[in-house]
């Protein structure tokens, strides 16, 4: 197993970081998060093409970069750090991954080049009312209609669902239960019968949408009834992506708080010289580094085809969730009063930490999933 990044990977990280620092200062984050779309297509396409971000883990045969999850993890860690407002997680980590897992050769050839190039944004719609990631909770019905299918029902908590050009939907054969009868479909974002409503989110940098399907035309992705395995694999990959994003956010929170306490004077001395502050800063470093180790390990394990991936994905998510939220709580505290103001940037990452903590299941859920994956 690889335990350190190669020089090429470190250089790639530095390039992405520089680009995000230049294109996505917090002023820009604040401007974009206040828009309905949550991003600007033109600017995003330009940045994406310069760095080849959405192409990264798509095989070269489909117009991609042919890299792995370690590289994808690097980009997501940097995005967690820079809080870039763009439909990257939804397009790359969710939809692209789902198509790679479920699609036929023909479908991959048809769908992936547009995603790689960045002209098409996409997402994966799986959760419904209540937001569970459990496949058994999926009710949205898919019925055959000639060569295509018709979808009826609702999806919610869909990442960038109100703007995605292409929606990959997990739906079920009417009358089926549990993991049986699930299939993946692709739907055009502007298909007739599809009503999309942007949800008001606590974390404004992460847009979620509610989708209502009334006899919406859909194309089957892969084979009918075989969606559960592809969906499960996609979720494992997405969890590892999210864990890497979260450790990027956590590191940023930690660094900003550290920089602040070094500047802040009280009682005639730097508050960074108080042991209570130093101890907290040391604990934050421990939390973040342990979570990084888990996130990096899981990404490397994905690239190496490790069979333990279900457990590792849940482990990395649980670890990152706890670390990121704890770091955010400490970061606000270390800033004191100013850390509770809207003008201070800490709340942007605090909210991202909270939304990432819950997205795809919280730490309690994933600790239990990890135990079950280990047959404990």
């Amino acid at each position: 197993m690889r335990f350190s990044f190669s020089e090429e990977q470190e250089e790639f990280r530095a390039t992405v970081r520089r680009a995000l620092e230049a294109r996505s200062p917090t002023k820009e984050v604040r401007r974009l998060m206040a828009t309905d779309a949550g991003f600007e297509r033109e600017g995003w396409q330009k940045l994406n093409q310069e760095l080849g971000l959405t192409a990264l883990h798509i095989p070269e045969a489909y117009g991609g970069g042919g890299f792995g999850y370690s590289e994808l993890g690097i980009v997501l860690e940097e995005m967690g750090r820079g809080l870039l407002c763009a439909p990257y997680f939804s397009t790359a980590a969710l939809a692209t991954t789902a198509i790679l897992n479920a699609g036929t050769e023909e479908q991959k050839k048809a769908l992936l080049p547009g995603l790689a190039e960045g002209s098409v944004t996409a997402t994966l719609a799986f959760a419904e009312e209540g937001g569970s990631s459990d496949p058994a909770s999926i009710e949205l019905a898919a019925s055959p209609s000639g060569a295509t299918w018709r979808l009826d029902g609702t999806k919610s908590f869909v990442l960038d669902g109100h703007t995605a050009d292409l929606v990959v939907v997990v739906a079920r054969r009417p009358g089926s239960h549990g993991e049986d009868g699930l299939s993946l479909f692709t739907v055009d974002g502007n298909a007739s019968g599809l009503v999309r409503r942007k949800l008001k989110t606590m974390d404004e940098t992460r847009k979620l949408a509610h989708l209502t399907f009334k006899s919406v035309e859909a194309r089957l992705l892969g084979s009918e009834g075989a969606g559960a395995a592809a969906f499960a694999k996609t979720m494992q990959q997405a969890l590892i992506c999210l864990a890497n994003e979260m450790v990027g956010s956590a590191e940023r929170l930690r660094e900003d708080a550290l920089e602040y306490v070094k500047m802040r004077m009280q009682f005639g001395r730097s508050i960074a010289s108080f042991q209570t502050t130093k101890n907290k800063a040391a604990d934050m470093l421990v939390d973040v580094e342990l979570a990084k180790s888990a996130a990096y390990y899981a990404a490397a394990a994905l690239d190496e085809g490790d069979e333990d991936i279900a457990a590792l994905a849940s482990l990395a998510k649980a670890s990152a969730a706890e670390a990121c939220v704890q770091t955010a709580v400490h970061a606000v505290q270390m800033h004191g009063g100013i850390g509770f103001t809207w003008d201070n940037d800490t709340h942007l990452w605090f909210k991202r930490a909270k939304s990432s903590e819950i997205l795809f299941g919280d730490a309690n859920e994933h600790r239990e999933k990890m135990m079950q994956a280990w047959k404990i």
């Binding site: 690889r2 335990f3 010289s273 042991q275 130093k278 470093l285 342990l290 180790s293 888990a294 239990e368």
Partner: protein, 422 residues
């Protein structure tokens, strides 16, 4: 004499040829180790003139492998003796080297480290054990504590204050003290887990010959830093947790006896670290594995312990790549005590009412009970969690030190603990 650079292959060939010609399990332990000293194969990274071969330390592993292949016994490696050797090699005179190094390697002498005092634990440079020059001798008075194997030791590495009129770190001297003299009294120190792995050492006019001071008055702290650095680094691979061979023969019997003596104080150390390895077995045999709350706690422990292992692997990988040490390399000690504490919590939840019991009335003949009362040592011994956090915040995070009130005045004016001597 060949001047070509040694390689893995050349070292391997040389040591294996030497072992073929010389190794014989019928030797006595000391007799064999004297041959190792003559040849330099006992401590190949030591200087040629002092029982070594001047080989880079990276070749030690290869030499060890060749020894293991033929079942050859090595030099004495466990205990404080290797720290003494490293310190003497770095700072000692030829007299010190002649007198001590060989008997360290043969295992004839055992050593102890006389640094910590009741009044100075984390603040080790605040030592108040006195060294006063009377006539031609140094006379030592005071008390040391947490001294492993002091009751067996022939020699002690002693940090004592020889000048009270200068600042804290400047007035210390470092001595090699003969432990077998009337002025030295050793009493075992019973711990909260019932073991007595350490000692208290009392000095009443104990004497040290002037040539047994290492460096000068005022250099004691620097020399002690060398000892501590080797303690943290495992004395460049020479020091190890000895594991006895199960082979038959006189030399193996002698080695087993030596190891049993040296390792005796450490037998509860696995329990101190929390025994994560026992958690699953215990959770299954008690049925607590089905309790959702305990499952969460077990999962937290497993995540922490796996992540700790991966963090250590990251640090090692970076080191192997020649990268500067990142923050991940400074966290191990603190993380280990987090793991130990969570493991003790989990063992308590799993064990339930049986955790009220001890010894043969308790699960696994007392092992679980021993975990619960040994784990508190993990966040204290070898640098408390608080000191670890200070080190991390100052060295890694570059946060300022707290204003010092004891380092810029004569030590005699520094407020300190009053230690009663009994």
């Amino acid at each position: 004499m060949s001047t070509t650079e040694p390689t893995e292959e050349s070292v391997r060939a040389e040591v294996s040829a030497w072992l073929k010609a010389h190794w014989n399990p019928d030797y006595g332990l000391v007799e064999w180790r004297e041959k190792l000293c003559e040849s330099g194969w006992g401590a190949p990274h030591w200087p040629k003139e002092w029982y070594g071969r001047d080989l880079p330390v990276k070749f030690n592993a290869i030499v060890d492998e060749e020894f293991a292949k033929v079942g050859a016994v090595g030099v004495a490696k466990a205990g404080i003796r290797t720290l003494a050797a490293a310190t003497i090699l770095a700072h000692g005179t030829d007299l010190h080297k002649q007198k001590f190094l060989k008997r360290i390697l043969t295992g004839e002498d055992t050593w102890c480290q006389l640094f910590s005092e009741p009044g100075s634990g984390s603040d080790m440079a605040g030592a108040v054990t006195r060294a006063d020059k009377r006539g031609n001798k140094w006379v030592i008075n005071g008390q040391k504590v947490w001294t492993t194997s002091a009751h067996k030791a022939h020699w002690g590495l002693l940090l004592a204050r020889a000048n009270w009129d200068v600042a804290k770190h400047k007035g210390l001297a470092y001595f090699v003290l003969d432990m077998k003299q009337p002025g030295v009294q050793v009493h075992p120190l019973k711990q909260m887990n019932g073991h007595a792995s350490f000692n208290q050492v009392f000095f009443t006019d104990a004497e040290v010959e002037p040539e047994m001071m290492i460096c000068d008055v005022g250099d004691g702290w620097t020399v002690a830093t060398t000892t501590l650095m080797h303690e943290r680094r495992g004395a460049d691979g020479l020091r190890s947790w000895a594991t006895p061979s199960d082979a038959k023969g006189r030399i193996y019997d002698e080695e087993r006896a030596e190891i049993a003596t040296v390792m005796e104080p450490y037998k509860w150390y696995p329990q101190r670290a929390g025994r994560v390895d026992l958690v699953m077995q215990r959770a299954k045999e008690t049925g607590k594995i089905n309790d959702p709350v305990i499952r969460q706690e077990i999962a937290k422990l497993l995540i922490m312990s796996k992540s700790a292992e991966w963090t250590a692997r990251r640090a090692r990988a970076a080191q192997n790549q020649g990268k500067p040490q990142g923050p991940e390399g400074s966290l191990g000690k603190l993380v280990a005590s987090h793991v130990a504490r969570q493991a003790a919590r989990v063992h308590t939840y799993i064990t339930g009412a049986d955790a009220l019991l001890s010894g043969e009335d308790s699960p696994m003949n007392g092992v679980i009970a021993e975990i619960l009362v040994s784990v508190p040592a993990s966040s204290i011994a070898g640098g408390t969690d608080e000191i670890q956090r200070n080190i991390i915040s100052e060295r890694v995070l570059k946060m300022p030190r707290e204003t010092s009130v004891d380092t810029n005045k004569p030590f005699k004016d520094v407020p300190r603990n009053i230690v009663s001597s009994s």
